[in-house]
């Protein structure tokens, strides 16, 4: 019975304890480097009337939550966060669906021109949005979907990134499992549902995080397609905190902090599935 834990755990035997301690110290220092900018963002957000001081200090004399209060009163931020949450959730759910089905097709189904079609899919990642935005906007205007949630969502329903990610994952699921299911009389749909999907859980969790993040931080498209104040999304509303001449940086930083929190929650939740992999990923 093969050990369930990843092999690298074997480092943790008594003779390499010092090694683990050193590793821990190094990683902890690295973690501090990762955290530091975030800490500074939080500090600036609780420094009332903060400008972008050239030599900011991490010690705040008069911490206050004024910036957060301003954030939620000046603009309907609760509603705006709700918009972002709604769009991100729907985008993620749909992308999981479209990516998984496409990944199955590219990995398991042989058909003429499969390589070409995959290349075409990939190529959609190779054109920057800045160039597509005007024609795309004109197209959605023709459909009458400007300033609607549906208009904001439609272009996000398929993601070549997600398809690519899941395709790699599906490729790693052993075909023997497919064959076993076929022998049991399963058709493609059942194989997809009962064999493939459960075995690519880590990839699905990873895609959940990235799809959510992509939608959450998306700026240019929501800027152009969602105009009504109650329909705007978070990044656009945060950009609106920067005025023509002056900017209240403490409020901007407060907005940044607020926008990170849901993302972090999603990641921590999904992390369990991303890491859990070994038991379900087709051990020989």
């Amino acid at each position: 019975m093969a050990e369930r834990l990843p092999a690298m755990r074997r480092i943790a035997n008594p003779s390499t304890r010092p090694g683990m301690v050193v590793l821990f110290v190094v990683m902890a220092l690295g973690a501090l480097a990762m955290l530091f900018p975030f800490i500074w963002t939080v500090v600036t957000s609780i420094t009332p009337g903060a400008g972008l001081s050239f030599a900011p200090s991490l010690i705040v004399e008069d911490p206050s939550l004024e910036a957060y209060r301003t954030l939620f009163t000046e603009r309907p931020f609760a509603r705006i966060i709700g918009n972002s949450l709604l769009l991100a959730t729907i985008t993620t759910a749909i992308q999981l669906f479209t990516s998984a089905t496409a990944a199955y097709a590219f990995s398991r189904l042989a058909f003429r021109g499969r390589t070409v079609v995959f290349a075409v899919y990939l190529s959609t990642m190779m054109i920057p949005l800045q160039v597509l935005i005007v024609p795309l906007f004109a197209q959605l205007k023709a459909f009458g979907l400007v300033n609607t949630y549906l208009g904001a969502l439609l272009p996000t329903f398929a993601s070549a990134f997600g398809i690519f990610l899941l395709r790699e994952a599906v490729n790693q699921v052993p075909r023997e499992l497919d064959e076993a299911a076929t022998l049991d009389g399963a058709g493609h749909l059942r194989i997809f549902w009962t064999v493939i999907l459960p075995n690519i859980r880590p990839a699905l969790a990873t895609l959940t995080v990235f799809a959510f993040m992509g939608s959450w931080n998306s700026f240019l498209w929501p800027l152009v397609v969602l105009r009504a104040p109650e329909m705007q999304t978070l990044p656009v509303a945060l950009a609106g905190l920067q005025g023509q001449y002056t900017t209240a940086w403490d409020v901007v930083m407060a907005g940044s902090v607020v926008s990170i929190l849901p993302m972090l929650a999603i990641y921590l939740f999904a992390q369990r599935y991303i890491v859990q992999g070994v038991a379900s990923s087709g051990i020989k």
Binding site: I90, F137, T148
Partner: protein
């Protein structure tokens, strides 16, 4: 995977429920007209103030409703141009002076019949008319003045700036007040296109030639003006390596009491209200002439609007009504472009700085930004780039101006 089902179900239901359509401009059955207005002027804190003005307008004009969209200033141009390209532009929209000529030349602004032209400051109104036709109405203006820390001047026993000062006076004071060891600097002025055309005017030069097809700043006056800007780096203000040019650098230095003189706009009055030292303003000293930079925003009516009359009414109300004047003055939301000085009297009594009169004095001699119909943004970018090269010491001032001339002529020529 059981997880996918509920999500997919939610998603489908969600989509079905979300086929909301946005607000459109139109005339409803009961005859009310809805006009759309896209703006950036209210973002960053003045949304409620704009709502007050809208409410007052709607009260006075029961048949008209105004639908307001507020966009971030930085990306406003992107959204506006996308709208123009796709044909979804609002009935009324904000523009900046710098872009006026481009929009007018491309025919996107409707000609306006102004019911009361006398209500506006003539110079501002003229800035937005071409060949005698009014294409936009100024909605606000701000000027750039010289701020100074009166405590630092007193401590050094120096006279504070007056309206008679020239560059020589400013330079002398700046050098005297700079104490690098103590981290105190005498005079900060940004090095950029926006400062250059102004100091050029202060030195009797012109940025563009008379028909706007080529630049005219590569002259001894121009070189002197550029040198005036560039020379401050490292002498009366920090260098780029020391942080000059980063966002809010100059205002932070002033707020910390470490800067004696500062060239910036009147929009900083609010930010400086609570500083622990005495401060005031003066009209910017010139050299051979006086010239102050004036920035203004305006509103235009779309040439393709279906409600030009209603839209024009809103545009006029937004830019010249007494409601608007009161709201702006009370909120410290830039200055209304009105000609009635008595309406602005309240402005003079609002507190620090004491010499608010200087704001109006600076309007006597104005340097408007040079505008061209093609290549405005490139012209500005190139000018700033070349000046910064000179400031960083990678080019001489003469070389920078010569290169700027060649490069700018290439993009604006014909």
């Amino acid at each position: 995977m059981k997880r996918s089902i509920p999500l997919a179900a939610i998603a489908t239901a969600g989509i079905a429920a979300l086929a909301l359509t946005g607000c459109t401009s139109g005339t409803t059955d009961d005859g009310t007209v809805t006009i759309t207005y896209t703006n950036f002027i209210s973002n960053g804190g003045n949304e409620a103030n704009l709502e007050t003005i809208v409410a007052a307008f709607e009260a006075e004009n029961p048949g008209i409703t105004v639908d307001v969209t507020t966009l971030p200033y930085g990306d406003y141009g992107t959204a506006l141009q996308t709208d123009l390209a796709a044909g979804t532009v609002s009935d009324v929209f904000d523009i900046e002076y710098a872009n006026y000529l481009t929009y007018q030349a491309n025919g996107v602004l409707a000609p306006l019949t102004v019911t009361d032209p006398a209500a506006y400051r003539p110079s501002l109104l003229e800035a937005y008319s071409t060949d005698g036709v009014q294409y936009a109405l100024p909605s606000s203006f701000s000027t750039v003045v010289l701020f100074y820390n009166s405590d630092l001047f007193a401590a050094a026993g120096l006279e504070t700036p007056t309206s008679d000062w020239t560059w020589a006076d400013e330079e002398a004071a700046g050098l005297a007040l700079t104490d690098q060891a103590a981290g105190v600097w005498g005079d900060h002025q940004p090095v950029s296109f926006y400062e250059f055309y102004k100091v050029l005017a202060q030195n009797g030069g012109e940025f563009l030639n008379s028909d706007g097809t080529a630049v005219a700043f590569n002259t001894p006056e121009g070189i002197e003006a550029a040198q005036w800007l560039v020379g401050k780096s490292g002498t009366t203000m920090p260098t780029i390596e020391q942080g000059q040019g980063t966002p809010d650098f100059d205002t932070n230095l002033f707020l910390d009491g470490k800067l004696a003189m500062l060239h910036t706009g009147i929009w900083m009055f609010g930010a400086f209200a609570d500083v622990p030292f005495g401060w005031d303003i003066a009209v910017e000293p010139g050299n051979t002439n006086q010239a102050s930079a004036v920035f203004s925003n305006a509103v235009g009516v779309s040439a393709t609007s279906k409600h030009i009359e209603a839209a024009t009414k809103w545009a006029e109300f937004l830019t010249s009504s007494t409601t608007m004047v009161d709201v702006r003055l009370q909120a410290g939301w830039e200055l209304p472009p009105v000609s009635d000085e008595s309406a602005l009297a309240a402005y003079l009594e609002l507190g620090d700085p004491a010499n608010r009169q200087a704001v109006f004095d600076s309007l006597d001699q104005v340097a408007l930004p040079p505008v061209v119909a093609v290549g405005q943004a490139e012209m500005q970018d190139i000018m700033t780039e070349e000046l910064v090269e000179a400031q960083a010491g990678r080019k001489t001032v003469e070389q920078a101006l010569a290169d700027a001339e060649t490069r700018i002529n290439a993009v604006i020529g014909g």
